[in-house]
Amino acid sequence: MELNSRIPDGPIDKKWEKHKFDLKLVNPANKRKYKVLVVGSGLAGGAAAASLAELGYEVECFCYQDSPRRAHSIAAQGGINAAKNYQNDGDSVYRLFYDTVKGGDFRAREANVHRLAEVSNNIIDQCVAQGVPFAREYGGLLDNRSFGGAQVSRTFYARGQTGQQLLIGAYQALERQIGLGKVKMFSRHEMLEVIVVDGVAKGIVVRDMVTGEVTSHVADAVCLATGGYGNVFYLSTNAKGCNGTAVWRAYKKGAAFANPCFTQIHPTCIPVTGDHQSKLTLMSESLRNDGRIWVPKRKEDCGKPASQIPEEDRDYYLERKYPSFGNLAPRDVSSRAAKQVCDEGRGVGPTRLGVYLDFSDAIKRLGAAKIEEKYGNLFEMYERITDENPYQTPMRIFPASHYTMGGLWVDYNLMSTIPGLFVLGEANFSDHGANRLGASALMQGLADGYFVIPYTIGGYLAGIKPGTRIKADDPAVKAAEQAVTDRTDKLMSIGGKETPTHFHRELGKVMWEMCGMGRNEAGLKKALELIPQIREEFWKNLRIPGTGNDVNQSLEAAGRVADFLEIGELMCLDALERRESCGGHFREEWQTEEGEALRDDENFAHVAAWEYKGEGQAPVRHTEQLSFENVHLATRSYK
């Protein structure tokens, strides 16, 4: 397998400009002769489907939700970064680029990150023009806030619902194209196979989740924008339906999977209350602008109400350990620090797996009204879930799985190792290295969808003769459909005793314990023994009532869990092989005396891309060397 990143020549700030000019164009009259499939309708998929249709391509878009407006991008709360420098505080494209490479702990591709920073400003312009109601100052200009890992205010926001508003912007653009007949939308459809002919992506197979019907769609190119695989942990901030099936199907058809072990554990989520827990709710990172994180200095105080612990007995551990970034230390660093204090027995709440996020100082300084204006809906959400009033008692928070930096390997054009298969947004691996900074996921999703793929896909399609796509009755199409039907039949016929959720929970426990915030060789090896056992039990003892010919949510869940049971194994394998600590990947064997991550740039300044070799065969680890010509490799310090 060849990993050619196709990074253009030239200085970093000229690469994208030059590449856009070098890419071949498709003649406007020819565009309608090409069909592109977009799987997923979140920020990346929705933006791509709308933008490609505007250009004139024939587009079909698929989502598992009942409407494209419900993709999980909608749940992003805090904001979106852009290098506008409207605050005159020293921001620039270069600084956003620099912060993102550093924040990713030097495991992202410089050229991709620079492009992301360049187009960040176009995104804000585009969204404002679409009618996204970003927060504004009284003078009518856009407001900004700060996010972790940055010392400038570059985050644009719409109350605590930025993801929702950006998605509605993309959704409206998409619906406009649907109304014009340029995009054909398939809601409640799940992609279950990629059709590959002679090594080239030619279409997909989907299951209609209402009728159970399995159908094929052939095209000239396929874009996967299907999000991350964070639900491998069972409990995560992802929506219940988020899954890794599309990327996993692509992996098994020849798309390399890059850095699967790079997962983000978000520091501020509402803690688990019991075994019934089905998901975890994030409390936006923006809260760390005004909230102070602390635990009691002494274990003995942990059972007392927060109000009875005097100031001098509190340990504001982020402010103590990282004085220059304080409560806005990046996510990986903050999550690990929370784990450390809980491991020391200083956690709070009934399970002792929690730390305080306290707004009392901010309320004193700014008044409750100002805090309500900034974070009202988040406070309300917290109160609804926990029955505690955060204006009066500090919030309790704990880290949870939130985002996956790993994903399908793509080149500079966002094309995977299968020609014709492009991967956008969280589903690819490209921009965040080993740790993503807050407010950068929305930026990347929209950058890929609005401003990257419309150019790069043209470069690919220009090399294909119009009208040469395969026919619907091609043997490869029939074979792919058959594979999907067989798999469904196999799942339905197990006839065991346990529910899909049972196995998902079992897998989640193993992943969280052994491949979560802290990883070590013994634990990962143990996980690599346990996961195949759970998988074996799954295929022997699963029970799915009903049939495959109508709505069957157990069948949908089972198919996703079956794939998670394989993804989890690859994550552990990748984590085991990456013998260093970087970003969200913390190998306990590699840490400094103060417990900070210890990178090994000599041996691991590369992307690990895994190639599938067949059932029962060990996957092969390939590497793409990363070179840092602009941001020099240095130990990340937020002290």
Partner: protein, 261 residues
């Protein structure tokens, strides 16, 4: 620790749009008050699956009150008893031990039942496709700060844009009217200067589609506002009606003379 609850559920079961449905009784035993309503249903469903019975089908996804997927009428109220709360954010501490809970799908002609508590809300998407947007192709805009927007306008726009498209307003309305949903979009875009060029066209096209989908009309009951989990206000409907009247009076068919040369 509060005591766990034992409840009786009366759940609407319906195989598909063509079949008749009926209420079926299920016990929900040993339910923690800290569970969300959907987690309670998960527990009931796990039990049904283990017994080999078909679990209750219901729509859900983000489980944090923002995606708008969850949709059920709980004891006669869309999203249940708590104000401004979606079903997924409703917690079992809102119920008492021994309670009977009735669960039904959204009931409206325009939202046909797919299965059990799951309905088809595609009509909402078609209304947006008819005009709920600003026509701005990717790549064409000016700088975001080139056009200042008064904070109040942006705030009012955001208030309306908070709509999650769940359809509770339709389910609550005795006429199954979608006017709260449609008017929220009209206000979201109508409060902004970017939304002005298409303002009249938008309201005409969206209302035409709303009528084509056979939603009822508003007769000022106010049930929609009471049921809305995001606090969308009825004043939006008044605003939409004003826009619609203005648009109807000033409507001129498009001319086709331009562009020669």
């Amino acid at each position: 620790m509060t005591k766990n609850l034992n409840l009786t559920l009366h759940v609407w079961r319906q195989k598909n749009a063509k079949c008749d449905g009926k209420f079926v009784e299920y016990p929900a035993a040993d339910i923690s008050p800290d569970m969300s309503f959907l987690e309670m249903l998960d527990v009931v469903n796990e039990g049904l699956i283990r017994k080999g019975e078909e679990p209750i089908t219901f729509d859900h996804d983000c489980r944090e009150g923002i995606c708008g997927t969850c949709s059920m009428v709980i004891n006669g109220r869309p999203h249940g008893p708590r104000e401004r709360t979606t079903t997924c954010q409703l917690h079992m501490r809102s119920f008492k031990d021994g309670d009977s809970i009735t669960l039904e799908p959204w009931r409206a002609e325009a939202f046909p039942v797919i299965k059990d508590l799951m309905v088809d809300r595609g009509a909402f998407d078609r209304i947006i496709a008819a005009g709920g947007f600003i026509s701005v192709p990717t790549g064409s805009p000016q700088d975001a700060n080139a056009l200042p927007i008064p904070k109040q306008s942006a705030d009012l726009s955001m208030d309306a844009a908070a709509c999650i498209g769940c359809g509770a307003c339709v389910a609550a309305c005795p006429n199954a009217s979608a006017m709260l949903f449609v008017s929220a979009k009209i206000s979201h875009l109508g409060h902004l200067p970017q939304g002005q060029p298409e303002r009249h066209l938008r309201v005409r096209d969206m209302i035409a589609q709303m009528d084509a989908e056979e939603f009822g009309t508003c007769t000022n009951h106010g049930e929609c506002e009471a049921a809305c989990p995001k606090g969308i206000k009825m004043e939006n409907i008044a605003r939409m009606n004003r826009d619609f009247i203005k648009a109807s009076l000033t409507y001129r068919p498009a001319t086709s003379g331009g562009g020669v040369g």
